[in-house]
Amino acid sequence: MTVGAWICLLSPLAGALLITLAGTRISRRTAGYLSTGSVAVAFGGAITSFIGLLGKNGEERDHVSTAWTWLSGGSYRSGFEILVDPLSVMMMLIVSGVGFLIVAYSIGYMDGDKEERRYFAYMALFVFSMLLLVQGGNFLLLLAGWGMVGLSSYLLIGFWHERPSAIAGAKKAFVMNAIGDATMALAFFLIILYTGTLSFDHVFNIVQNGDSGISNSTPINLIALGLLGGAVAKSAQLPLQTWLPDAMEGPTPVSALIHAATMVTAGVYLIVRTHVIFEAAPKVEELAAGLGAGTLLLAGLIALVQTDIKRVIAYSTMSQIGYMFLGVGLGAYANGMFHLMTHAFFKALLFMAAGLVIHALHGEQDIRRMGGLRTLMPRTYLAFLVGGLALVGIFPFSGFFSKDSILAAAMDHGWYGYVLWVAGLAGAFLTGIYTARLFFLVFWGEPSAFVQEHFHKPKRDVVGISLAAPVAALAVLAAIAGWIQFAPLWHPIETWLQTVAEPLVSPAGWQEAVSSVLAVVLGAAGIGVAWLLYGARTRRVPRLAFAQRTLEHKFWFDELYDALFYRPSIRIARGLGRFVENPLIFGSGRELGQETRALGGLLGRAQTGLLRTYALAIASSVAVLALVFVVVR
């Protein structure tokens, strides 16, 4: 089955290279097919390895396959190796599966763009990177994939590179992720320092046995913090969340794939993967949960006032990932992963549905200019509805199962858990509001003037199909995928992940029930509120100027970071240039030279050209020399 995994990993890379090298020799459409095909192959590979694992019982579902020694220094080595175990296979399935649908969708969505080939190459590259991330057999390769997905997300966000905003968003995303990479790298240095290796099982064993002093509070906490830094950067959690909304400058499928389904959830995967370390540093783990809770509230609030259809969904992504962090932070790994999966389905669905809307409206994204699309594009309306309900967590849609189990888990974690639990419920309420707001604004009411003049229906050609089919597929998934695990009754995912990540919490049935009911109720309440405000328009939206502005400025995080980091570094650079580089570094040499020349000039003037001067020089030096000799002798 490792073979399947290798195929899964490499075929997207092959696709990317093929498209790059082929260049203009192949048509844009072919490029699309190539990339889709390669991802499909990857999915196939994932399935084979999944089946392969199914054939084994719990303990033997852990296979490492090394291709060659990738990096070695001193006695340290790490190979180019992949790890096939339940967790990675699950991620492989999600990534390649959802990836396949979205790439297929792109064929239609990106149709007619000048640089489609580049786009599909990038997409394939991203899928490869994501698979590298989840399959990487050691920390180093994990970090490699980590950086690669950051890179490809940079490339894709900035895909329309004439747009300054796109480039800016791309840069922002990359730099913030680079910060995360840096903290992770530092954590790895610590690991190397203490263990001399970066392969998962060695490190985990050492941590669990607690020898070599790594488990002392300081190093282990620092390591966990470093990892957490990477996780929050990648998953757009507090305090490194600001890049995600700007990332919406990229094409919509990109947002669906990278900034909803796969990459942004890598943080969750990381925590689950390295849960041993986090469990050794419980404080940090709780911090992760706390950050998750904070983010889900923050994002939910901001989402209330966003007017860009994609940004609303982006913020909802942030808050949903907040749930996942909450879950895994409390040790409910299976639940976190479960929500990751369902979220991948319904969030990708939402994005692609939004994509259809945007596509139909010639790239318009402002929801205030939309409305009444229900009649014009009923299927999209349905899809969006499914996605929305799943997002809010209404029974029986997938969100319900995964999200509520996380809340239940929170209840089983002492007072701290309860705090988070409350936050989660509040989040559910907010989710209801903003999702429904978006829904009503876009689809209900009468078609706005803008819509009437710009709307055009997709035709039933390849484009239409490639746009429609994936959405349909995802809608189905979003609707039913939740049934895979129904928390107290049956939990295959938990058992599947048992060997990799033993959950720390096991909520009782009543906790499940309570939180489920409350969550659904609150979600419904949120929808109701939204209906009052936007659907039926019986109430006017309450105006709280300050709150409004705060939310619209996203709690001034961008401004804060600008003032704290960006501007100072610019100013320092300028200052160095003006006060150090030019005067000291360049000046010094020049002045020294001038001084020396001046001395030379002096000597030149002593050379009067007069005989007597020369004779005098001789006579006096003779006198001195002789005197010295006679005295010293």
């Binding site: 007597r612 003779v622 006679v630």
Partner: protein
């Protein structure tokens, strides 16, 4: 005994005379404004030096001094001075003042140092010199030295003189052709 003392006094007297003549003429040479007089003073200087040489019982050198130097060389000097004309226009001395001062200082320093050094020795070995026979400094003696120990020196001297002659010809002679023609060396 008495003869000795008398002779001693006599020699002293001659020495004093010659010595002072020598010094005075030297000062005169460097201080006269007119080179002509300086040249004449130098002749006097050379003469008095010859006397000192005699006192140092080096007769041949004294003779050479008078003949070669005071005779030939100075005559040439006078000729040139006459040829050039008694250029009065050159100022006595000049250049920046501090240089003159420094010059005087340097010269004085040299002088004093040498005399001090000699004084240092005078107490010691310089006091009594080796006794020499009549042959010392005689032409025969000199000739022998010239032909034995210092054969080469003798030869070189002649070479130097020859070269000087050539130089005199080259520099002093009238140019043999009009200046416009430009051959390359």
């Amino acid at each position: 005994m008495i003869v000795a003392t008398v002779g001693n006094v006599l020699v002293w007297a001659v020495w004093v005379g010659a010595g002072f003549a020598c010094l005075a003429s030297a000062v005169a040479v460097v201080s006269f404004r007119n080179p002509f007089y300086s040249a004449l003073a130098l002749i006097g200087n050379l003469g008095s030096l010859a006397v000192l040489y005699l006192l140092l019982s080096s007769d041949f050198v004294a003779a050479a001094q008078v003949l070669v130097y005071a005779g030939a060389v100075m005559v040439m000097f006078l000729f040139v001075i006459a040829y050039v004309g008694p250029r009065m226009d050159t100022p006595w001395a000049g250049g920046p003042g501090w240089q003159s001062v420094a010059a005087v200082l340097a010269g004085a320093a040299l002088l004093v140092e040498i005399i001090v050094v000699i004084g240092l020795k005078a107490g010691g070995r310089l006091a009594h010199s080796a006794a020499v026979g009549d042959a010392f400094g005689s032409p025969r003696d000199i000739g022998r030295l010239f032909l034995t120990d210092h054969l080469l020196a003798f030869e070189i001297t002649s070479i130097v003189l020859l070269i000087a002659a050539i130089g005199g010809v080259i520099l002093g002679a009238h140019s043999r052709q009009p200046a416009d023609e430009v051959p390359s060396l």
